[in-house]
């Protein structure tokens, strides 16, 4: 699975992709933003990690890869 496929899967069903690796409550909405916010608030991913991922995503969009 390449990075674009991963991104698409994350957008469509983030719970299925992340629930095994991260501790995500089952009653949480299957929404990418809500899940990212939860992971940041619980310290499972850092603000810096999110910043870097966000920048990489923007670069991919600018390069018409997404």
């Amino acid at each position: 699975m390449n990075i674009i496929q991963m991104m698409n899967q994350f957008r469509q069903n983030p719970m299925a992709m992340l629930s095994k690796r991260f501790n995500i409550p089952q009653n949480m909405a299957n929404d990418p933003n809500a899940i990212i916010q939860h992971l940041m608030n619980t310290g499972q991913i850092s603000q810096d990690m999110y910043n870097r991922a966000n920048q990489q995503f923007k670069q991919m969009k600018n390069n018409n890869m997404m």
């Binding site: 933003n33 990212i36 916010q37 940041m40 608030n41 310290g43 850092s46 603000q47 810096d48 999110y50 910043n51 966000n54 920048q55």
Partner: protein
């Protein structure tokens, strides 16, 4: 010629038993996050207890978004960038306005003039009327 003799000084790597030291990865929280507009900064996700500083790529603004806790709404601030042309610090005291004192008479000079005028009046006989 000397192939059959064992080397009395075999090479020993002095670093063989040491693990390679790795530079600590420092969090880069002090960098600007570039955004294309204010809404992108407002919608940016910030973890509780963190603050993110944004640089607007299309307007002269800096934004900060701080998330304190789940109970409090994030604090969003907007700063306008203004070019500073002066070398003086912003809060430097302004120079006092200089006043040209040469056009004014002193109190002593005024007193002397007043006495002279009084003497003239008296000489003219008007001093008694006053």
């Amino acid at each position: 010629m000397y192939e059959n003799y064992p080397n009395p000084y075999p090479y020993v790597n002095p670093y063989s038993g040491m693990t390679r030291l790795q530079a600590p990865v420092m969090p880069q929280n002090n960098t600007f996050v570039p955004v294309s507009n204010i809404n992108e900064a407002k919608n940016y996700m910030v973890a509780y207890g963190n603050s993110v500083t944004f640089k607007d790529e299309n307007a002269p603004y800096i934004y900060t978004k701080t998330a304190i806790s789940q109970m409090d709404a994030p604090i969003f601030k907007k700063y306008r960038l203004v070019e500073e042309t002066s070398d003086l610090p912003v809060n430097a005291p302004k120079e006092e306005m200089t006043m040209d004192l040469s056009v004014y008479v002193t109190k002593d000079e005024f007193g002397a003039l007043q006495k002279e005028l009084q003497a003239l009046k008296q000489a003219l006989g008007e001093g008694d009327k006053a």
